[in-house]
Amino acid sequence: MSELLEVRGLKIEAKKEDGTPIPIVKGVDFVVKAGQVVALIGESGSGKTTISLAALAYTRPGLEFCGGEVCLHGEDILTMPPLGQRNLRGNRVAYLAQSAAATFNPAITIGEQVTESAVLHGVLTQEEANIRAIELYGALELPDPELLGRRYPHQVSGGQLQRLMAAMALIGKPDLLVLDEPTTALDVTTQIEVLKAFKKVINEEGSAAIYVTHDLAVVAQVADHIVVLYSGEVQEQGSVEQIINNPQHPYTKRLMAAVKPKPTVDLASDAVDARHDREHDNVRVENMTAGYGGIIDGKPAITVLRDIDMSVENGHVVGVIGESGCGKSTLARVIAGLLAPAQGSISLDGKILPGNMLSRSRSELQKLQFVYQMADTALNPRQLIGDILGRPLQFYHGITGKENRRRVNELLELVELPIDFAERYQTELSGGQKQRVNLARALAAEPEVLLCDEVTSALDSIVSSNVIKLLSKLRDKTGVSFMFISHDLSTVASFADEIVVLYAGRVVEQGPVAKILAPPFHPYTRLLISSVPELRIGWLEETMGKREMAVGIARGVEITEVGCPFYNRCPMAIEGTCNLDTAPVHEPSSGHLIACHCSLEDIIAVEHETQQILKGFEGIGDKVDINPTGKAAVLTQEHF
């Protein structure tokens, strides 16, 4: 195979105000062969996006190329005149940004935006481009290819938009596709559908790709060749088999270690007593319904949560998990008093709390502390870290002066930050450090319960695993209870004692971690568990063969007033029952609750069936990837 793209000794620098150069990329070499998928992997700040943009002869403002060359078909594109570079971009090399929602113009139809680049570069006429777009929609398994082009971006789901961006990139049949973290912002169940579509379409179109990500498990599914980056330098590169199965460089090994394992249960250590004892509950939510808009007859204009029953026991960690939009953040906001519930009650230590935070007493507020997802916005950029941490001490406990400063230092030590950070501003810290300060502020109040809303989702894998480690330590040291909200099942599983699974505003399953992660499952929980990528080549094909994937993937969430919310995606749905009645709650073992119309026997029977299908997955894995040309099937066998 010929070299499609050759990057040799690439150096990119930024300049400080006084003109001293800051090297961002320090001499990187790699090669992309025709039809090959090369993954660039590293933490944020490793230069992976900068390098991938160099394939389009582009640098972000403030950066400049300082050496080396990037050759496309043997021609150095960095020295090309600007017009030549313009013809190259979107035509021979196409770029897929991380956030499709931010890339699409909300005021122009999808079809027009998808076909624009091909028509603009004169590769296709508008009619040809429209036909090609419809072909691509089909190949990307998007619903209703004929009419999709007439819709507007807000009329399709996030996962569909991400795939539409792939169509936009592929429309002009580019030689090289640059994908910048295309699935990072997506839920696991959506990620798997997008990954599958990308893989299929890359195989069919035969275009080469550079895939930028920090997620090794995703890379293992799509890449042929992996380049591991750290601080603008290549640490290791090799075939996907070699990197995944036999990493050589210590940094690669560290990255591998930071990949969260598939949620599994260590039954010996997690023998949590599942008895629900009301006296030990810190926070109890009973029969709570909440939403946004005016409340009429106990029903909000837009209902987000329905009939929620859950509790956080003293010293326990309760993980709340679900897709984006399922209402998990709203649940935390209701408990914190930021949103008053329409029905039901929230009690703290057995005492019912007023719904609105303005009616709560200072000590009630102090006992429940909310930790925001984005530390960037949760910390005031104009206050010193010392003041941010010192304020709750002063406000709730009246600690001032030297004692206040001493306690601030203690808090900084508790979250493993240097003491002199007290004299810094938020903008002078890195993302992980800000999140630690964010936690320290909540701890300064000495709360009984910490409500953590997706505290690790904005962080890199290594940084976030450090934050989780810190959280476990804090829990041991302070004995505080946690409500830990995440869309990432493996993070929750590694840290929580109990899990609440939310789907479209209802609790579908809850119980101790060990019970949730072992059969019997609620059909949605099973979909969630099997969607978490594994660090194993061939996992994607294997999983897509499973029965619940075929039904559950690629269908949107529907929020329904009656019946089971999971009805339209459930492989076991019973028409006429599931869509009309609220699901009864089964209790297969003490403390483990499943809300499902199917009897426990049925759920267990399906479980056995799935296990059997799994055993014979080889045949099914091939079937999924078959396409008219048969090329993909051949490739699949070669690589996996």
Binding site: P250, Q366, Y372, R382, Q383, Q433, V463
Partner: protein
């Protein structure tokens, strides 16, 4: 780098300091030469406002020269008129130096008052929301809907011409537009998580305004301050032109421009010098503000409010 990774891999405790490598360095506020130029010019005019009357060659009201609209460096028996004379045969340089006190003093105090009123009410309206916001905003709309000169004339005529009345009138009129900006900024900041974090902590209105919202609105407001100061200078000179502003023979830059406009027809620069004074002062303020906001240090911006 490689060694660093290996060692941290071995020592569990050290791993978190790995994250430090991309921590931005501690910022220091340093003005560029543009900012320094601005500071120099503003400082010069402030010094003039303070000691001007002691160093000016003549008194602002002295009608001493032999002729009106004398060119620069004309000399007669009384002395040398470095910038020439005006339409009433007075020394322009002396009048500019004397005028620094009235112009800078009145417009600065008026703008400051406008800011105190506008920012307090504007951010208060944004933080309080609901009916408070509604009433304050509609009252503000009513003031904004009146032409500023007409409103100014009305108040000055009704209450009489004096410097305190002039300052209060200008500050009231300009507080309305400051209110608009402050409220818009406040509303943007109110929805950021750290404000919610303060409210859920149980903080009162005053804390939220003074510690959470105001410091973050300070930079854009300070930028606007320079611009607003220019408007106030022009507003006061318009009133002076109509005979309701600063009363003759007291000098102020705005009225000097207006009064000497007719001199342009005789090739006199008499109206250009005070115009340059206004320009140098207002542009310099904007230079300083721009330079600070370009690398928003935080600490200085806080002091500016």
């Amino acid at each position: 780098m490689t060694d660093n990774i290996t060692s941290t891999g071995e020592e569990e405790e050290k791993t978190i300091y790995d994250e430090l490598h991309d921590a931005p360095p501690k910022k220091k506020l340093k003005l560029t030469w543009v900012g320094k130029l601005g500071v120099t010019v503003v400082a010069f005019w402030v010094v003039m406002a303070l000691i001007g009357p002691y160093i000016a060659p003549f008194h602002e009201a002295d009608i001493i020269a032999d002729d009106s609209y004398l060119p620069a460096f004309s000399t007669d028996s009384e002395g040398t008129y470095i910038l020439g004379t005006d339409y009433l045969e007075r020394d322009i340089l002396s009048r500019i130096i004397w005028g620094a006190r009235t112009t800078i003093g009145i417009s600065f105090v008026a703008t400051l008052l406008a800011y105190m009123m506008g920012v307090t009410l504007g951010i208060g309206a944004a933080v309080a929301g609901g009916w408070t916001d509604m009433i304050l905003s509609r009252a503000n709309d009513a003031i904004l809907s009146l032409p500023s000169i007409m409103l100014g004339l009305l108040i000055v005529v009704a209450l009489g011409t004096s410097i305190p009345i002039l300052i209060l009138t200008a500050s009231l009129i300009y507080a309305a537009s400051v209110f608009r900006i402050a409220r818009a900024l406040g509303q943007d900041i109110m929805v950021i998580d750290f404000v919610e974090a303060a409210r859920v902590r149980g903080e009162g209105l005053w804390w939220v305004i003074s510690r959470e919202v105001l410091p973050n609105a300070a930079m854009p407001l300070a930028t606007d301050f320079g611009l607003r100061l220019v408007f106030v200078v022009l507003f006061i000179s318009s009133l002076s032109f109509l005979g309701l502003g600063i009363q003759p023979p007291a000098a102020d830059w705005g009225s000097m421009v207006r009064q000497n406009l007719s001199g342009l027809g005789y090739g006199s620069y008499a109206s250009v010098w005070p115009a340059l004074a206004i320009a140098s002062f207002t542009i310099s303020i904007n230079l300083i503000v721009d330079d600070i906001s370009a690398k928003s240090g935080g600490s200085l911006a806080k002091k500016m409010i």
